[in-house]
Symmetry: C2
Subunit: 157 residues, 2 copies
């Protein structure tokens, strides 16, 4: 599995920076990997605490998420209000997100042409891009259907 590979890469990363290889850090990686691709930290902290009373504390989760971000295994992908949604990247190719404001569903997509056009814009401004984030907020197909149903009911009432 490529999770093991990622963990050993992370181990190298920690050594290089003079950090120690601790159980907690690797347990957190496992938890994140099992949680699903997108998460918020508080959510993750609660989930970990529910699963395992003796697991890493809130502080350690925050600190480890930060390290994993620097390492590149995690990315902040959605910022909405005061919420930050992270993504466990783990070698997945780059992509952007559609976010349903009704149900919170997150749909990933990738458009080569959009990426290329961005590069062109950057060149035009002699700007060296480091990273980018495209968030499209809207209503997903499921929620549109639900709305139609409920609208129908309102009429009937």
């Amino acid at each position: 599995m490529q999770l093991e590979e990622l963990k050993s890469k992370f181990e190298q990363f920690l050594r290089q920076r003079g950090h120690k290889i601790t159980r907690g850090r690797f347990e957190i990686i496992d938890k994140i990997a099992n949680y699903g691709p997108h998460f918020e930290i508080e959510e993750l902290v609660r989930w970990i605490a529910n699963q395992d009373r003796s697991a890493a504390s809130r502080s350690t989760v925050y600190r480890t998420v930060r390290l994993l971000q620097e390492f590149g295994a995690i990315r902040e992908v959605i910022k909405l209000g005061n919420r930050t949604i992270y993504e466990f990247v783990a070698g997945k190719p780059h992509h952007e997100h559609l976010i349903c404001v009704e149900c919170g569903k997150i749909i990933e997509f990738y458009k080569q042409e959009i990426e290329e056009l961005q590069d062109r814009v950057c060149e035009e401004h002699r700007f060296s891009p480091i990273n980018h984030r495209l968030e499209i907020f809207g209503v997903c197909s499921d929620c549109k259907e639900k709305k139609h149903e409920s609208r129908g009911m309102e009429v009937r009432t």
Copy 2:
């Protein structure tokens, strides 16, 4: 001037929602209009307080910014860490942003093709977009030059 037009539209908006037309709200619009296109709320609050000891309080600024957002005169355009940068839209056409992570400079751009490609992606997913935000983080041309200079000096030292 179109600021007056905007204010009278905002007045209508307030009336429609059963809100009152108060001096404070309109003074805040003036301050924002004079401040520049991009601002953070705390920054704005300090600036307003410095200019005018008797101006609106922090609470009122937050509340008014919220109203202006709902009205559509203000948009959250950049979310970076715990910072939120707002933009006074005021009828300006839609655009996206390049953000220099060295100096904080914000460059606006618009690419019709990117917008069209986004619409196509939404259609493919039967997703109804409401709004979107494309943030490109990187280093602007000025900062790249500065870096070269300082690198040169390091070598000489």
